[in-house]
């Protein structure tokens, strides 16, 4: 699956801030760390603020702080702020008799059916633990 750029930036920002809820970071600091557009990230952070996932601290030395519960919020909760990745039920159904089209839709729906439960099952806290373990490094060295 491919997430929109704003969604990816939102996940970067929320996870970065959730890693240390006492710390506040500016959009510039986060954008520099991930090599992404500060302007785009600033808009993403405003959306996250409206959704109640981060708090904006105004004034000199201001920035953003994580304001949620990392053990309860999931990757899906963050993704939903930016896009709807539920299976696309609005796809026009193939006409009766188009067995190949119906069969392909059936198989693609099987793939979709794994996506949402997976994203719903990974809390921000579990995600941060996974990042700390770096399992991809072990996979690469095999």
């Amino acid at each position: 699956m491919r997430l929109q750029k704003a969604t990816i930036f939102g996940l970067y920002a929320v996870l970065e801030l959730a890693a240390d809820p006492a710390r506040q970071l500016t959009a510039v600091e986060i954008a520099e760390k991930y090599g992404i557009s500060t302007n785009h990230l600033a808009k993403v952070l405003r959306d996250l603020g409206r959704a109640g996932l981060v708090d904006a601290v105004r004034g000199v030395g201001g920035g953003y702080r994580f304001s949620g519960d990392a053990r309860r919020l999931t990757l899906m909760d963050v993704i939903r702020v930016f896009e709807d990745i539920a299976p696309d039920v609005d796809d026009p159904a193939p006409q009766v008799g188009q067995d190949i089209a119906e069969g392909l839709r059936f198989v693609l729906a099987e793939l979709d059916s794994q996506t949402v439960p997976t994203l719903q099952s990974i809390s921000l806290s579990s995600m941060l633990k996974l990042v700390a373990r770096r399992p991809w490094a072990a996979r690469r060295s095999r």
């Binding site: 053990r71 439960p117 719903q120 099952s121 809390s123 579990s126 633990k129 996974l130 373990r133 399992p135």
Partner: protein
């Protein structure tokens, strides 16, 4: 309030296991849990584990697993097929302690991998296993109706 101790289940624990499972799932399954205890309660040569978390005579949680050898060509691995924690004690680390305890027994049996299977719509148990570090493995569950 003290911490629950984790130990292998004994026959006297099974009524507490049945009650806890019934309280959480809304279904009482005495025959099922009796059968589980007979299969896994006594160590089957070190390959079956039925552990309970008990505090002051009350069963607050349990976990059941076994070593499964060479299924589908896979080297022996630990398999967890039941875990339950009293509702009001959740998200306080008891489930993690049960998980660690059964994994410790798998390790002692020479196993380096643990597996389980969860219903797609059971977000709570799926999240629990994810929080322990479990991820999708190399197998895909497949099924079909036998009409």
């Amino acid at each position: 309030m003290g911490e629950s101790g984790i130990r292998p289940a004994v026959a006297a624990d099974i009524p507490g296991v049945i009650a806890l499972d019934g309280e959480v799932t809304g279904l009482r399954k005495p025959d099922y849990w009796q059968d589980m205890f007979e299969r896994y309660g006594a160590p089957r040569g070190g390959i079956g584990f039925f552990l309970v978390a008990e505090h002051a005579g009350r069963i607050d949680g349990f976990i059941v697993g076994e070593v499964r050898a060479w299924e589908f060509g896979s080297p022996p691995s630990g398999w967890i097929f039941a875990v339950q924690v009293r509702s009001r004690l959740r998200v306080q680390g008891l489930g993690s302690r049960l998980f660690s305890a059964v994994c410790e027994r798998f390790r002692a049996a020479g196993i380096d991998r643990v597996r389980t299977m969860v219903a797609r719509d059971n977000t709570m148990i799926h999240s629990f296993f994810r929080s322990q570090g479990m991820m999708a493995g190399p197998f895909i569950e497949l099924e079909m109706r036998l009409d």
